[in-house]
Subunit: 331 residues, 4 copies
Amino acid sequence: MQFLSDNAAAVHPKVWDAMRAADGPQPPYDNDGLSQGLDAAFSALFGRPCAAIWTATGTSANCLALAAMVPPHGGVLCHREAHIETDECGAPGFYTHGAKLILLEGEGAKLAPGTIDAGLAAIRKDVHQVQPQALSITQASEYGRCYRPHEMAALAATADRHGLGLHVDGARFGNAVAFLGCPPWQACQGAAALSFGFVKNGGMGAEALVLFDQGLADLVRLRRKRAGHLQSKGRFMAAQILAMLDGDLWLENARAANLAAAALAAAAGGRLMHPVEANEVFLVLSDAERAALRGQGFSFYDWGPAGARIVTAWNSDPDHVAALAQAISAL
Amino acid sequence: MQFLSDNAAAVHPKVWDAMRAADGPQPPYDNDGLSQGLDAAFSALFGRPCAAIWTATGTSANCLALAAMVPPHGGVLCHREAHIETDECGAPGFYTHGAKLILLEGEGAKLAPGTIDAGLAAIRKDVHQVQPQALSITQASEYGRCYRPHEMAALAATADRHGLGLHVDGARFGNAVAFLGCPPWQACQGAAALSFGFVKNGGMGAEALVLFDQGLADLVRLRRKRAGHLQSKGRFMAAQILAMLDGDLWLENARAANLAAAALAAAAGGRLMHPVEANEVFLVLSDAERAALRGQGFSFYDWGPAGARIVTAWNSDPDHVAALAQAISAL
Amino acid sequence: MQFLSDNAAAVHPKVWDAMRAADGPQPPYDNDGLSQGLDAAFSALFGRPCAAIWTATGTSANCLALAAMVPPHGGVLCHREAHIETDECGAPGFYTHGAKLILLEGEGAKLAPGTIDAGLAAIRKDVHQVQPQALSITQASEYGRCYRPHEMAALAATADRHGLGLHVDGARFGNAVAFLGCPPWQACQGAAALSFGFVKNGGMGAEALVLFDQGLADLVRLRRKRAGHLQSKGRFMAAQILAMLDGDLWLENARAANLAAAALAAAAGGRLMHPVEANEVFLVLSDAERAALRGQGFSFYDWGPAGARIVTAWNSDPDHVAALAQAISAL
Amino acid sequence: MQFLSDNAAAVHPKVWDAMRAADGPQPPYDNDGLSQGLDAAFSALFGRPCAAIWTATGTSANCLALAAMVPPHGGVLCHREAHIETDECGAPGFYTHGAKLILLEGEGAKLAPGTIDAGLAAIRKDVHQVQPQALSITQASEYGRCYRPHEMAALAATADRHGLGLHVDGARFGNAVAFLGCPPWQACQGAAALSFGFVKNGGMGAEALVLFDQGLADLVRLRRKRAGHLQSKGRFMAAQILAMLDGDLWLENARAANLAAAALAAAAGGRLMHPVEANEVFLVLSDAERAALRGQGFSFYDWGPAGARIVTAWNSDPDHVAALAQAISAL
């Protein structure tokens, strides 16, 4: 009974079907009909013109975006626990050629306008200090917290006021939209670039980098090739993404994962380290309690010395979820 | 009737089957059983210990290897028409942080020991000139030419004598081995790293970076993550590669492609720009002749103002091949 | 009456004399006799073998050292207020090709072994997180605090235990040694590399990068050239440095600056934000008080909204110092 | 009797005087009055508005310019024997973060419009090939050849037509202007950036990066700091440059060096490998002849197995020049 990560979940059958269907003769790279259709598909989804570019991983999506938005001598404001800071092995430094991540604080790994203002106020405007050009947030955050539409609007206004490009790391963007119940564009409003994740949500190996600032698209395409991410059989990546968009499968899958997490949250009560909004559940659990759960067949990651991270997925088995909820309640 | 590139060909059914079979619960990244089995599988294939690491593209395989072998202030000797020089959008400069490709000449895009010696002799050993640390060759070459085992031995000795690490770009390594009829290790002997290509040969999106210098493996794994190439569902990449190795499918596929190319070569006669050894056929064709062939439904790339590049694949339709051979003969 | 920074002070007459004396015919770069004598001069000063390499700025000295000690995917532990983090425009990211500065806390901009242990304990040993390879401290620190010999010994042991190379930013190393009254080697013990500053201490445009890990020297020389820091008339840089070493002029100058700072500290009493150990004095001063001092002709930098940084130099005019001390007392 | 290089020559007395005069109290970095006066001084010299920024070396001037003109994924067209390609240890790759130098041929290390057109025509306009954004030429060239004003105009038009920024490496720009006898602007017309060298021409350690495209200035200032080239006592660098401009000392010095070279050229007759236009003389000399000259006390570099490079300087001793001329004639 696996609750380690949604990135270990199976590939959705409709994604498989779409990939098989893509195996006809098609031009290589992103010259096939499927890849060529991404811009239109995402423009329709978001109700505004955008360019959409596949890449295999969230790390590459995030970093291609940042490298297009920030010069090598620049900086990116982000949360101290942002994925780009903690879990990408320095990939932003690689892709941006050494730009600095400037770390800010905020509850639940979310940033607030006041924190951004204060962070910027502490930077002298001279050649000795790194000047930030972008703001990167994660929706849902690294603790599964979601920015409400009015919070997004305030962040967007803050970024705009300071001349910062806004990047949204949406590795679990579907889960955020499923929770927020808002139109997708509201969940990332003001973003120049959104890393829209599908791999954790039923895909295999394709994420979409959605560029609302379409002027970044040519640059991203060059940099994608230069990073070795332009796959010759890209049609299979486009197929995955289009299958996820078709009939809003991405939203359906995210809702299923969120529902499972909510069931666990209900069972966890006072143990919750963070309110559960998406598909991640952070619990206070002692060593003995963790051992007890693992002894019953549940797998998950430790979170610090007295906690655990439990992640549900689009295909979390309802029986496993119910069993885990019961086991937590019984602790 | 498509002869544009083998990278546009279909995915082999056995690869599909292996991918589907990999869709059970497995740990993410390369902690799954399939990924963990790559070292042993390639060590068996080559008859010597090695580490093998999947990555999605030949460009990333080449550049991860070079970045592990060459410091940012160093250099790589390669042919003026090497893929790393001409077709990777500067990816070697990106991955190596600015190391220089030092370009050499050679017939058929192959390098000879004497050329390497002469190239090195022209470089002063001081801090003003870039000092090369690696030699990169392509097997089969960009013109489909293969290094014979004794040529590989001589190159390896040359590299060793000069303290250069040897990298082999094997985007079409299978085609080279199929032509040479030698044990695989002989086709890349002396290499510290081999980019073993599968995508052009029936795979979907997975190449193997084979490290005979196993000391490079940890470094490559870090850099792969840093480049955003550590896919969370890596099991599907390992599955592709293992399916290609199983029963020597890679060799069978390469033989089929080579056979098709040989049939075209036989028809081409004096039009051949290069002897056909692998699965690429370079022909002297006038504008009118190219138009005539295209008018009959054949697609291929121009090669300069009076030539064409025709590439066969593991699944080139025998009827299409026969038709093209006949059409060429009839010009 | 200038107390803005020691980097605005005049060049010492003996430095001028040495530069003029160097203007004979000499080979370029660092092939002249003066440059060739640096290794021996610093080995004698420190009582142990080392290589010493001139470079024009402290930023380049720091970053050449770090780039030689840390790979692009690595990290450097340093204080949150370290000069390399706050005042070099991201130069460490440039020279190291994107390695990360991992920020730690500590009073007076000094680091303690426990903080380093804790910082390292928070880093997972996997490919997802940046792994630090070096520790950089500043002697004297950015707040003019000095590491005592036993503190250096403890830091060196900590670095060694964790396999970290130790870099000492010694922009004001002379001031630290003058305060500590210990042999120079004790003030930087365990360091693989020391950026030994002379510009703030009577030089013009030459710092010494002292490499106790002599294995780094060839690498630093290559990287110095690659960074455009190998001046063709390097003899003038070596001349400055040798003049500073001759008769321990560096120590005499530093003592003079420290003495001036001590006089100001005595006058400042409870206004001191940090104990004064070297040649920097940080004072609590209101807007009105700062204005009052400036009205009397004293120039210095604000330090936050209610403070000031006053820096003395080797040639601070005793009358100016006395006047400022009196003015502070009279506030 | 030293003819190794003009970069080993003495510093001009007027430069010394100006440096000494600069040793009053001044703000650090480039906030002093001298540094602040550079823009006006060069605007006057060239008769058009420009920004001028000091840096210690020609390599850093060249590379700061290129990094401001070319993105990391871009390319620079230059001659195969350009200094940036052959003698800067890969510094362009470092400063530009991996952009490619695309090498062209041309007699005397000069480029012609037709060569540039042909070089560009060979590059496909797709994401697989590196796209050049700049053209870099050397005035006077690495073989001491000068671009005439009409040649500069043609190159500028070519660059403009292709959307390439034009960079002029003017390590010996003074020698070129002295030879051409034209207004300085004509010798670099169309350039966005000129590396105007002074070190080889009587300076100590300061070159001027002249930006006719003033939009590059802020970027260059940030990158200069990031490269560790913003010296705190920059006033001494500005002083050198202004002394060289004062009364056209740069031109006077260059004329003296050219005159000495012309005397040697007259003596060399049929031995000249290149017409002598600036202050470099390339001669066909056998091993025995080189040994004979060295036996008479002349020092110079070999140039290949049967040649020599002789460089004169602003202060070449007329007696030494006459002696060398006679010795060559007598061979």
